[in-house]
Symmetry: C2
Subunit: 411 residues, 2 copies
Amino acid sequence: MALINENYLKLPGSYLFAEIGRRVAAFKAANPEANVIRLGIGDVTRPLPSAVIEAMHAAVDEMAKSESFRGYGPEQGYSFLIEKIIENDYAARGIKLDTDEVFVSDGAKSDVGNIQEIFGVGNTVAITDPVYPVYLDTNVMAGRTGALGGDGRFEGIVYLPCTAENGFLPALPAVKVDMVYLCVPNNPTGTALPKAELKKWVDWAKANKAVIIYDSAYEAYIREPEVPHSIYEVEGAKEVAIELRSFSKTAGFTGTRCAYTVVPKTVMGYTKAGEAQQLNKMWNRRQTTKFNGVPYVVQKGAEAVYSPAGKEQVKATVDYYMTNAAIIREGLKSAGLEAYGGVNAPYIWLKTPNNLDSWAFFDKLLGEANIVGTPGSGFGPSGEGYFRLTAFGNRETTEEAISRIKTRLKL
Amino acid sequence: MALINENYLKLPGSYLFAEIGRRVAAFKAANPEANVIRLGIGDVTRPLPSAVIEAMHAAVDEMAKSESFRGYGPEQGYSFLIEKIIENDYAARGIKLDTDEVFVSDGAKSDVGNIQEIFGVGNTVAITDPVYPVYLDTNVMAGRTGALGGDGRFEGIVYLPCTAENGFLPALPAVKVDMVYLCVPNNPTGTALPKAELKKWVDWAKANKAVIIYDSAYEAYIREPEVPHSIYEVEGAKEVAIELRSFSKTAGFTGTRCAYTVVPKTVMGYTKAGEAQQLNKMWNRRQTTKFNGVPYVVQKGAEAVYSPAGKEQVKATVDYYMTNAAIIREGLKSAGLEAYGGVNAPYIWLKTPNNLDSWAFFDKLLGEANIVGTPGSGFGPSGEGYFRLTAFGNRETTEEAISRIKTRLKL
């Protein structure tokens, strides 16, 4: 009899976006004349940079001829891309990496989901709260948790609350933790960790032989000089941190799929007997066994992100979104709302007025201003009373949304 | 302290292709004038069909404009592709599938590697022997085995020998088995299971509430009418079988990455308490949590495989490889060797002459005919004494290789 992985049954349904869809549909049915603006979407809207388009066309043409056709590539990614990543994203910041420390993949979501496989099931995991749900869900699936409690927290997971009260800076765990996920800049709060804060985490991990899984998918949005672009800017991080990056939000690759994960050869995990093992070797084994690399055409597109034209085009797109972010953030503030994030990230995290719960504010914003956002409680218990807006819309719609918030929202 | 997944330590190094590389390099160093032909490669060499090239160019152009840009797509794949898959690969053979029973992915290797996650760790797994190593390795990593024994077999795995003695037809397990991997047409033996054999497996799975993971990545190479193109041609299979397909060997997508897995809603797994659970729902949860879909450009390319021009071009490429297969198979036979496969698959499996072991024949073939193949023992203990050649080379090289085997190999 084929038994299932019963850990899956611990997960509640994917309620958040389904419920948003249901409420929006009901509102539209009741108000067919309303022009609903979506500022809840976590997906980019600007086209791929033209340097990427040109590179992809050229790569497609290569696939059309026997002489230049590419079959299986290295599971870890082509060296033409890995070398560009190291040169631009790391060496330029004084970080030295070997080519076999960078693993190109089809997305940060895949890497976030898969990286936990190389760790023991008995490890205690810490996550910041609120946070991108994949960190938690994949550890539930792997059996690193107990059941979901009535308080919205899974037994066995260490939640690190990040709220306005602590400036969205997670405190070091008070209990034993073996793996911690840090998302910097953060989805959903839009906040980042300055170098001094990050150093506390690196020191903590070294002292505890813990591993930091550092998701910096939104690195391209960092503007403040005190926020490191890579955790490896912090001394000692190469002994304890795995860093995940993506082309999705940097260069519009959400529908094109390319990301990478850095696993320095100096990061160790341990056997129960206490013997140190290179996580780099384990991740290499995982990827070569269960993955067959990113499409050649896509890797050529990603390579073009690092060309002079590509860099300029990517910067223009990120600037476009960040101007949206400033419009939203300042607009909310001038409307009298408390708003966070939006400075080093494309997300704006607002405190709901009058202590409304997240869903009540969702209904209010939809009903009064015809704007769809994302209830903060969908990202974890400490997201209750908050709400996420994103900067990925177009300029006109973003401006219209803020104008409505100022004029139509009854505060 | 971050503990590792110690199951990884049970795996031996990826020895096979590294050792082949080492021996070829040593041979070339000693014989710099030798013109070495590689017939060991499991990768395609013909370019992408022009219908695919055109569709990919058009899709790249869509990504260049805001109006037609595509961000995140459905994790399960776009319906434009899923509908074509169902219509052409299933409905045309009388098999009815719903669109939510087909999951598009970045490769059969990924799906083969990941599908075991939805199953309990305590299940007993059976694999045919010899076979594609990913079935075994991913179950070792998941902890469904004990240690590797001195006989080359992992404790806890049920090996089903497939040799010339039993006509490469695996016998039903004599012990309790919960999950079985069948690769049809088979890599490496190049043989297939006729419908009557497959029916035994479906009946066995139903009687035992077991699940068949049916890898038919080489389906496009089936020529004999008694070999089903899908396991769902067998009555009852939709209750017990998950089927994996790929565009890799069909349409030259090894470097372009697209595949799909069919999980009918009628296939059940069970809780320890005996409650039936839809594996379709579990796989959907796995894919939506840990995967973000296949690039839009690639899915448009895969869709074009089903256009009238695409079908014709794919058929021409498969015919090309199968002509190579016939040349190899008949050439080996006329050279006095025992050869199997190559009729419904691009692989030819030969019995080594004079009871040479697989590596001894490797050295003999390389030394006398300057041809590189793959030692059968690399695919499992029952592959010892066999050797794999593939039909994916070009015509001229394939003919030259056979001519050398006939004239230079000392039998």
